[in-house]
Amino acid sequence: MLTYEKIFDAIFISLQVSVISTILSFFLSIIFSYIIAINNFTLKRTIIAFIGSLTSIPPVCAGLIVYLLISRSGPLGWMEILYTPSAMIIAQFLIIFPIMTTLFVNYIQDEYPRFSEELTSYGASKRDLIYLLIKNKRTIYMTVLLIGFGRAISEYGAAAIVGGSIDQVTRNMTSMIALETSKGNVLTGVILGIVLILLSLIISFIINILKKKND
């Protein structure tokens, strides 16, 4: 009943969903974190603290929130995206966006003051500063990107709730492992588990290599 084709489908769906959600979250969190880290405004600390607390949002809760929003009886029901990969992307976005934003905000708050004092005296504009900040510490951005991706691809719960674990459409690796194990097909679960662990290992190796380069 279970073919290699289905396993490859699950791997492909996992990668597709996680890559898109990570890239989406990556760019938006960079923009967002620069806005809140550089500017001074009221409630700045509260917003940063709030996003920081969202970093530990349990995936099932993120899934539930997205489910309530995009269900037919929810406010975004007209979009018809429940039980599609798009829904999974949104749910994963909700999980990793706070993580990436918090990491970026910390980094920018550390680096920006040092840069700005020195360079504004040479006549650099805000835009030049941001450009230099991004260019100089490229590896930090890579690390944050991979942390986000690792969290997205290994998450179980959110994607399962809003994706519905539909065969060959929204059944990613983690939901397939849960399903096959609960059906008693432990061996399939183990095979998929190994693939997932290998992927996570590769990701953490890349992070480590990048960190060394950065030091």
Partner: protein
């Protein structure tokens, strides 16, 4: 606001299936999906008509509440009273009998509570209630759980409240796994049992009782209640299953030489 607009555009672009909905969403139970029946049926249906069928495998209770939220085109579950109420409340158009099998009691090989000696279903329920041997209940509002509850009620017994009445709150196959590990009794539909690969530490202890009939019904979600449902396609699917080729496929569906579902001739 511009950023939000771009997010939506991006999501729209990345999911091509958003624009054309050439598929049906079937809210169904774990017993029809995890046995592989619905997979097989939807493959054939897609080959014949080009309509893709996407199945969501949850418990009957969850499937019904999902369908009541409008998150599905077809409901295929096994809890007749709830199905009739679903239609009565205007959420569904009409209930069709699709197929049936039966429920069974399974437990450890040595059968410490001697359920296999029971004369009738009332005996079985009494033994489980008073013997205090481990019994596992689904406790997830699924069709099987609802059936178990109705068995307690119809035999004038209250739910056991000792600590050996274990509530798992998960799917049928998973519950069978737990029963196997704990050497406990449990109540299951025959389809899941036959397709369950890990049954070596469990066996059937009580079966073939009239009160353990397990009919599956199929209902198209009402287009009056939810204008977005694919009603025409749903009807086509239901007709194909109840009168067309689907019926023969259900009849011929076997695992290890055993038939899982039967249809009314």
């Amino acid at each position: 606001m511009k950023v939000i607009k771009y997010i939506f555009i991006f999501i729209f672009i990345t999911s091509s299936e958003l624009f054309s909905r050439e598929y049906l969403v079937v809210q169904s139970t774990t017993s029809t999906v995890n046995t592989g029946l619905l997979d097989m049926l939807s493959n054939y249906f897609q080959k014949e008509t080009g309509i893709e069928v996407r199945t969501i495998a949850v418990g009957t209770g969850t499937a019904i509440s999902n369908a009541k939220n409008g998150d599905g085109d077809v409901l295929l579950v096994h809890s007749k009273l709830d199905e009739l109420k679903f239609v009565e409340d205007g959420y569904g158009v009409e209930r069709y009998e699709l197929m049936y099998n039966d429920f069974i009691f399974v437990g450890p090989h040595d059968d410490p509570a001697k359920i296999s000696n029971a004369k009738n279903i009332k005996d079985v329920m009494k033994i489980i209630n008073f013997s205090k041997f481990k019994f596992i209940s689904r406790d997830d509002n699924s069709g099987t759980h609802k059936k178990e509850l109705s068995l307690w009620k119809n035999n004038n017994l209250s739910l056991p409240d000792h600590k050996n009445y274990i509530r798992t709150g998960t799917g049928m196959a998973n519950t069978l796994n737990i029963a196997s590990e704990m050497q406990a009794y449990t109540f299951t539909d025959r389809g899941t049992w036959i397709s369950f690969p890990n049954k070596k530490d469990l066996k059937i202890l009580y079966e073939n009782d009239e009160s353990l009939h397990n009919p599956y019904g199929i209902i198209a979600v009402s287009p009056k209640k939810f204008p977005h449902v694919e009603y025409e396609k749903s009807l086509k699917f239901i007709e194909w299953l109840t009168q067309g080729k689907g019926k023969d496929l259900i009849k011929s569906f076997e695992i290890d030489g055993e038939r899982l579902f039967f249809v009314n001739e």
